[in-house]
Amino acid sequence: MDIADMLSPEGVLPALRVTSKKQALQEMARRAADVTGQPERAIFEVLVERERLGTTGVGYGIAIPHGKLSELDRLHCLFARLETPVEFDSIDEQPVDLICVLLAPEKAGADHLKALARVSRLLRDKAICDKLRGTDSRDGLYAILTESAASHAA
C-alpha cells in the first residue's frame, strides 16, 4: 500500500491554523469527512479515543493520529502542516507541526498496520521532514509525500 493510494491532494492541508491539539484533530476530522464521506463526529471521536490510550505525538514535532472506522471503504490518509506548532503531549514534550492522520476500515487488519508503519517510517526521516517544513504549497507537499514514500519503499 503506497501513500499515493491513500492520500489525495485534497487530503493535504498546507498551512493549517490551529491553537490546540483538540482543534487540530477537529480540523483534520472535518477535512477527513469531506474526503471519505464519513461523519465528522465519528472520525473525531475515533481519533480522540486513540489519543486517550497514549499519545500519537511520536516526537520531533510529528504526530500520527489514527484509528479504525467500520463504514470506511479503504485506507485514507490526510496530512497537515501547521502554521504554528501546538502542544500534543508528545513523548518528547515538543510541540507538533506535522500531522499525518491515518484512517482504516475495521477489517483492514494487516494492511492497516503496514500502512501505519509506512507513514511512521517516512516521517522518521529527518531529511523528508525538513523538506515538508520548507514547503507551503499543497502540490509540493503532496509530491514530497508520495515520491519520498516510493523511494522509502525499498
Binding site: 518528547d92 526521516d125 519503499a153
Partner: protein
C-alpha cells in the same frame, strides 16, 4: 639532567599527540585504543623516532598498575542495579567461558603454530580473557548507549574474567617450564586462592576505603588521591597474598562506587582523568614494547589463531555460557563479537618471558597479533553491529549545561543547576508545565544576572539557569525535561524504541482492539506492564522486545516498581547482517525451491504473482523459522 628534561618533554609530547590523535580517530571511527597502540608502535624502535623500550619487568609493573586503576575506575561506575542484572551470565562467561575460549583457541594454536600441545594451550590461556580497558572504553566511546543487560554483561565479564586467564596462564607457564604434569591439586588450590583472597580483599578493602573516606577530614583535593592509594593497596595486598589483585580492585571499586562517598564527584572526575592516562599510557607502552618487524614471521599463523578465536572459540563459549539465560539471538551474537582482547593478553604474554619459558618472545608476538586483529576487526565494527542488531538504545539527553553539586554528606539531596538551551524540551514553556517529581524543590532562576525567586518564575527562556534541589534518583526525570536533546548527526530512524508509545498501565485489550493482537480473554484486562513482565521474565531492561502477532512490544522505560512505558513496533525490524541484495537473492532462491517442492510448502495463494508469493513466503519464513529476513514490502 639532560636526560630528565628530555624524558619529561617526550612524555608530555606523547600524551598530547595521543589525545589529539584520539580526537582525529573518532572522526574516522577508529577505536581509540588502536590509535594509542599504533602511535606506540610508530614511535617505537622501528619507527622514525626510534624510542627503544624492551624492559619487560618495567612493562609488567606499569601494565599492572594501569590495569588496576582502569578496573577500579570501571568498578566505580558500575551501579548495583547493573550487577543485579548481569552477574549470573557475566560470571559464567568469566569462568567457564574463559576456559572454553582458552581451550579451543589453544587447539587452534596447536594446529597452526609449531608449538607443542602444552605451549599451545598456554597461548590460548594468554588470549583467553576479554579486556576491561578495551570493553569499557569501546562501549562508552561515541556515546553509544547499549541495551543495559548486554552492555553490563560485557562490562562485568571483562572486569572479572582476568583472574581466570591469569591463573590459567601462570599454571600453564609453570607446567611448560617444569614439565611436571602431576600438580593438579596445586592448580586447584591456587585457583581457589586467587578467587577467594581476591574477593575477600576486594570486599573488605572496598568497605574500609569507604568508611575511611567518610570518616577522615582531609583537604578536598586529597580524597581522590587517598582513594587511588587505597586501590593500589588493595591490588598489591591481594597479589602478595596469592589472590587476584585485579578481581579485588574491581570489587573494591564497585563497593566504593555504590556507597555514598564524601567528595564523590571530585573522586569520580579525578578517576576519570587518571583512567584515561592509564589507557593511553598502557597502550602506548605496549606499542613501544613490540618490535613490529619481528612480528612479521608470526603474522600468518597468529592471524589464523586470531580468526579462530573470534569466529569459533568465543562464539561457542558464549553460546554455551548464555544458553541458560534468555538473551535474544541478536544479543548473543553481539556479546560473542565484543570479545575484545586488549592489554591483558599482551601483558599476560610477558609472564612466560619473565618465567623464562623457552621461546618466550614468540608468545608475546602471537598475543600481540591476536590483540591487534581483535582491535581492528572487532573494535572497528562494534558500533556498526550494535546498530544492525538493534542493540543500541536511543541517546539519553546530553549532560551539557548541567551542574551538579553534592550537598555535605548526610543529606540525600543534590543541588542541580540546569542551563536552559534553545533545544531543551521545556524552553519557552510555562514553569507550570514542568513535571516536578516528589521531593524536588525549585529554588530560583538566574536570568541576565538577576535572581528570580520561585514564585516569580513564569516561563523558561534560553540561557536561563534553573536551580533545583533533588534526590539523586529523581534527577533523571528533570534531565529529560531540561537538558538539550542530543543533536544526532545520524538518521534518527536508527535508534528509536517503537513507532508509538503507551503507558505501562494500558490494558492489553485496548491495544489489541487498535492493532489486532492475538490476546486471550483473561489477558485483555492485564496492564501492558504486567503482561510484558510475565512474558519476558524478571530481568527486564529497556529495549527488550516481545513479538506479539504482527507487531512487537518493546520496553521503553521502567523504574523500581515496574515497566512504565511500552513502545510498539508495527513492522518489527529483523536484524540485518547481510547486504539486502544478497538476502533478496537468497529468498528468491528459497522461494523457487519451495515452489519446486510441493511437499515443503503448505500454503498456496493461487492468484498471487511471483513477487507476492515470495513475499508471503518471506514473511512466513521470518515468523516461523525466525530467520534473518528483513520483512520487505517492495515494488510499486
Amino acid at each position: 639532567m639532560e636526560l630528565a628534561n628530555q624524558l619529561i618533554f617526550m612524555g608530555g609530547a606523547l600524551l598530547l599527540v595521543s589525545i589529539l590523535a584520539g580526537v582525529l580517530s573518532s572522526r574516522i571511527g577508529a577505536p581509540l585504543l588502536l590509535v594509542f597502540l599504533g602511535l606506540g608502535m610508530f614511535f617505537g624502535e622501528d619507527g622514525p623516532i626510534g624510542i627503544s623500550f624492551d624492559n619487560f619487568n618495567q612493562a609488567y609493573l606499569i601494565g599492572s598498575l594501569a590495569l588496576a586503576i582502569i578496573l577500579f575506575d570501571g568498578g566505580l561506575r558500575t551501579p548495583y542495579r547493573s550487577i543485579k542484572l548481569a552477574w549470573a551470565p557475566a560470571s559464567l562467561l568469566a569462568t567457564v567461558g574463559v576456559l572454553i575460549t582458552a581451550g579451543l583457541t589453544g587447539l587452534f594454536a596447536w594446529a597452526v603454530l609449531d608449538f607443542g600441545l602444552l605451549p599451545s594451550l598456554l597461548v590460548g590461556a594468554i588470549v583467553g580473557s576479554t579486556d576491561a580497558a578495551a570493553v569499557f572504553l569501546l562501549l562508552h566511546q561515541r556515546g553509544m548507549d547499549l541495551k543495559r543487560r548486554v552492555g553490563t554483561t560485557l562490562e562485568v565479564e571483562s572486569g572479572v574474567n582476568d583472574p581466570m586467564a591469569i591463573f590459567l596462564t601462570i599454571a600453564l607457564a609453570e607446567l611448560v617450564t617444569t614439565g611436571v604434569t602431576d600438580i593438579t591439586w596445586d592448580i586447584a588450590q591456587s585457583f581457589l586462592l586467587q578467587l577467594g583472597v581476591g574477593a575477600a580483599f576486594g570486599l573488605l578493602g572496598g568497605y574500609a576505603l569507604t568508611w575511611l573516606v567518610n570518616k577522615l577530614e582531609l583537604a578536598p583535593g586529597l580524597y581522590p588521591v587517598f582513594v587511588i592509594a587505597g586501590a593500589m593497596v588493595v591490588f598489591g595486598g591481594a597479589q602478595q597474598l596469592g589472590g587476584s589483585g585485579f578481581l579485588a580492585v574491581y570489587l573494591a571499586g564497585i563497593i566504593a562506587g555504590n556507597k555514598r562517598l564524601r567528595a564523590n564527584q571530585l573522586i569520580r572526575r579525578f578517576h576519570d582523568g587518571i583512567a584515561w592516562v592509564c589507557q593511553i599510557g598502557m597502550f602506548l607502552m605496549l606499542g613501544f614494547l613490540v618490535t613490529p618487524t619481528s612480528l612479521l614471521p608470526d603474522l600468518l599463523p597468529a592471524g589464523l589463531v586470531a580468526l579462530g578465536l573470534m569466529f569459533v572459540a568465543r562464539p561457542l563459549a558464549v553460546a554455551i555460557c548464555l544458553a541458560p539465560f534468555n538473551f535474544s539471538r541478536e544479543e548473543r551474537l553481539f556479546i560473542a563479537w565484543v570479545g575484545l582482547r586488549g592489554a591483558v593478553p599482551i601483558f599476560l604474554a610477558i609472564i612466560p618471558l619473565l618465567q623464562g619459558v623457552v621461546g618466550g618472545m614468540q608468545y608475546f608476538n602471537v598475543a600481540f597479533i591476536v590483540v591487534l586483529s581483535s582491535l581492528i576487526l572487532q573494535g572497528w565494527t562494534v558500533p556498526w553491529l550494535a546498530r544492525r542488531l538493534n542493540i543500541e538504545l536511543p541517546p539519553t539527553p546530553e549532560d551539557k549545561g548541567k551542574l551538579d553539586f553534592e550537598l555535605p554528606s548526610g543529606f540525600d539531596r543534590e543541588m542541580v543547576g540546569y542551563r536552559i538551551a534553545q533545544t531543551s524540551p521545556m524552553v519557552n514553556k510555562s514553569i507550570d508545565a514542568l513535571r516536578v517529581p516528589d521531593r524536588v524543590r525549585i529554588l530560583a532562576l538566574l536570568r541576565e544576572n538577576v535572581v528570580v525567586p520561585r514564585q516569580l518564575i513564569k516561563t523558561l527562556k534560553p540561557n536561563d539557569y534553573l536551580l533545583t534541589v533533588a534526590p539523586p534518583e529523581q534527577i533523571l526525570l528533570l534531565d529529560r525535561q531540561l537538558l538539550p536533546r542530543r543533536r544526532s548527526g545520524a538518521k534518527r530512524e536508527d535508534v528509536t524504541l517503537g513507532d508509538f508509545s503507551f503507558p505501562g498501565t494500558t490494558p492489553l485489550g485496548a491495544l489489541s482492539d487498535a492493532y489486532d493482537l492475538p490476546v486471550t480473554k483473561q489477558e485483555r484486562e492485564m496492564p501492558l506492564a504486567d503482561f510484558l513482565r510475565k512474558r519476558l521474565g524478571k530481568t527486564v531492561s529497556v529495549g527488550d522486545r516481545l513479538p506479539l502477532g504482527a507487531i512487537e512490544l518493546v520496553v521503553r522505560d521502567l523504574n523500581d516498581e515496574g515497566i512504565t512505558e511500552v513502545g510498539i513496533w508495527l513492522e518489527p525490524a529483523q536484524p540485518q547482517l547481510l547486504p539486502e541484495r544478497l538476502i533478496t537473492l537468497f529468498h528468491r532462491a528459497t522461494a523457487f525451491f519451495r515452489r519446486g517442492l510441493p511437499w515443503v510448502s503448505t500454503t498456496h495463494h493461487e492468484t498471487s504473482a511471483d513477487e507476492t508469493q515470495a513475499k508471503v513466503d518471506e514473511a512466513q519464513l521470518g515468523k516461523q523459522e525466525n530467520a534473518v529476513v528483513p520483512v520487505k514490502e517492495s515494488k510499486k
